[in-house]
Symmetry: C2
Subunit: 331 residues, 2 copies
Amino acid sequence: MKKLINSPETIIAESLDGFAAAHADIVVLGPERKFLRRRELNPDKVALISGGGSGHEPLHAGFIGYGMLDAACPGQVFTSPTPDQIVEAAQAVAGKAGVLFIVKNYAGDCMNFEMAAEFAERRAATVITNDDVAVESSTHSAGRRGVAGTLVVEKIVGAAAERGVDLEGCAALGERVNARTRSMGVALSSCTVPAAGTPTFTLGEDEMEMGVGIHGEPGRRRVKLTSANAIAEEMTTAIVRDLSDHLGANGAADMLLLVNGFGGTPTIELYLVYNAARLALEKRGLRVARSLVGSLVTSLEMAGCSITVTLLDPEMIALWDHPVRTAALRW
Amino acid sequence: MKKLINSPETIIAESLDGFAAAHADIVVLGPERKFLRRRELNPDKVALISGGGSGHEPLHAGFIGYGMLDAACPGQVFTSPTPDQIVEAAQAVAGKAGVLFIVKNYAGDCMNFEMAAEFAERRAATVITNDDVAVESSTHSAGRRGVAGTLVVEKIVGAAAERGVDLEGCAALGERVNARTRSMGVALSSCTVPAAGTPTFTLGEDEMEMGVGIHGEPGRRRVKLTSANAIAEEMTTAIVRDLSDHLGANGAADMLLLVNGFGGTPTIELYLVYNAARLALEKRGLRVARSLVGSLVTSLEMAGCSITVTLLDPEMIALWDHPVRTAALRW
């Protein structure tokens, strides 16, 4: 295992300390490093809290700030945060407007956020994201996994909360964005969980894992590495087929195209895949109205990427364009 | 070689097409993909042009936009852009205020930018960056190499140009920022140049290359991988020693701390190294006044990072804080 660390036991603490120091204008690290929250809170708006296992950075702490999250709870690597972390985050940031939890659909996350919602003594609602079309259930989840589409939910609902939308409205919007969002990933290499010390899985020199999850968990099948065009074609085909109920009679639609790196894939390849995915979608009469390219929902140093498509309506476009000031997204 | 590409011959073209489409609100791709330029030009300001071999993304194209570069010329992977690319970029973006070329100190880049400056028929000046303290000369350069500190020069001079500073003033400022900037890198793995198909160098399972360059060229020595704290200590010691002429009598100073990923290193490790570097600098009485963490000057998928320190004065801080709107940096 080759990593820039001091010891597997202290990775999360040291990385959180660095993150909080580097972005001290935006975030504050809570007591015992149980959560990160915005430095400037607005007690009149719905508070948005997310969290999950570490190893997916900048998700979620990198999305704390104006226009997006109010707090995030980091678990150990690929391990859910505990209910007390989430309860304390809610108590620190939620006012009378209540708190919306945004939770990726993994068994541990769902259980711990549900328990926290009971004990938080705050008006609470929960949106569970499950945008991954690769598999219907997985080693980590009952039902589809929540992956990179989660950031789209966080961005759009974050803007609505900033504009004064109430808890029910934010929850309904989150459900709507999730319902119109689909993702699929591919891995060219495994990641190595620091505490394990060995790769989560092994791929041959000419193999890829199509439909991989963001913890390196299995996807649809292991096949020979093929061209970026063929990969983008397969992933966008699966995504668009799954979105067909939401497409208009003529099939035309505006959409957000997000190409997300898993941590070990260089920027030059991400833009190349973006180009291939965009051409594949436009061939079907779909229009890319908004774009995002970057390593934003990662799986440690795994090589590979995911493609996410969200079907947009004018309200969602306006909320996507709303200003955001976080460590990882700013406009 | 495992990459998300279609063929080694078309990587740059397809990646540039994707970049230009994803950021069409900010940039325009020039004829025959010879350069990228800002969509909205300001003919009254000094034009800033940079460029160099591809494979370091988002440098330089990701830094085109308000407050930073006006154009960038991408060469093939790790290969200088040709003089005609640079001449055409200058003709497209430079007005009466002239053009400042910001060039990393590599033999090919220096030669081709110099030739272009002669033929561009524009008032021109050049700043050559050479911030890498690792080696005094290298396989790619006479004198020190220009690495991640280049983006600090581009950011600070970009703000000055936006504020109406003239060509001589921008050139002098660029020299001053470069003189107060030092960097050093470490690699945990090699990158693979697509046209070569095999890794540029090989490291043992427990080795690192201390002082590596951004093309995978050799650094100071190959040693056993050690802790992030020890790595940060060695790199900051080399940097601070080299900056000693610029430190005040009491050694105190405000500085910018940039921790830069080389492409294959996850965000969680970059913040951990940032934390270690910050503590190492503060122990010496230095103050981190501004911070930047991210994979911004990369070497394809190489694992590793660099640390850059710039000694700031109040003018430089104000220019660093000036708004910037590019694909890769925004505030």
